[in-house]
Amino acid sequence: MQTRISTWQSSSQAQNKPGEALEELQALLRTTPDDMSARFLLAKALLQLERR
């Protein structure tokens, strides 16, 4: 999972495919709620989804 997060960060997938990113980030945050890097990406993905 952490590898996927790194991939999102490097490829901006949270920006380009926010729906996909959302589900996996939410799953990750259920197990590690204090992961602020993942939470930040989740916030960006949510914002991106709203703009579509």
């Binding site: 602020m36 939470r39 930040f40 916030a43 960006k44 914002l47 989804l49 709203e50």
Partner: protein, 154 residues
């Protein structure tokens, strides 16, 4: 809850955990302002600026809200002016100089606001920022030849 509301919650959690994350702070402020929660937006900016005074975008957003918050009772032209002047001294950017003009307008110093704004229009044109120059020129009309030129509130 909409995706935008959820995004605000998440940005706020990140910003409150780490005020050094300027993007999270400013996204929170944008979304709070959109939701007309100006007091909360201002409080977050104040806290972030107190901890990280070197962050220019945060300082500029704070100065802007102090000068021209849509909620008039949150404004403080007296605090906005020195902050905006310091930011402009640091960056030299016309968009930051325009906050000086806004603060002067909030203080009722309309002629000085107009003079400052004219200088920023010239600076924007010199830097080939024509869209910005055009916007600043439109705002200039709010300051010129007026006895009262406070930025419009809600």
């Amino acid at each position: 809850m909409s995706a935008g509301d959820e995004a605000l919650d998440e940005f706020l959690r990140v910003a409150q955990a780490d005020l050094n994350n300027e993007e999270a702070v400013l996204q929170s402020v944008t979304l709070l302002s959109r939701a007309r929660q100006y007091a909360k937006a201002l409080a977050l900016l104040e806290k972030s600026h107190a901890q990280h005074p070197e962050k220019t975008d945060t300082a500029a957003t704070l100065a802007y809200l102090l000068a021209a918050s849509p909620q008039n009772d949150l404004r403080s032209g007296a605090r906005a002016l020195p902050l905006a002047e310091e930011i402009f001294r640091t960056t030299g950017l016309p968009q930051h100089g325009a906050i000086v003009a806004l603060a002067l307008a909030e203080l009722g110093r309309c002629a000085e606001a107009a003079d400052s704004q004219q200088k920023m229009i010239a600076l924007a044109e010199q830097k080939q920022l024509m869209d910005l120059a055009s916007k600043l020129r439109a705002d200039l009309k709010l300051y010129e030849g007026r006895q009262s030129c406070r930025p419009a509130g809600q």
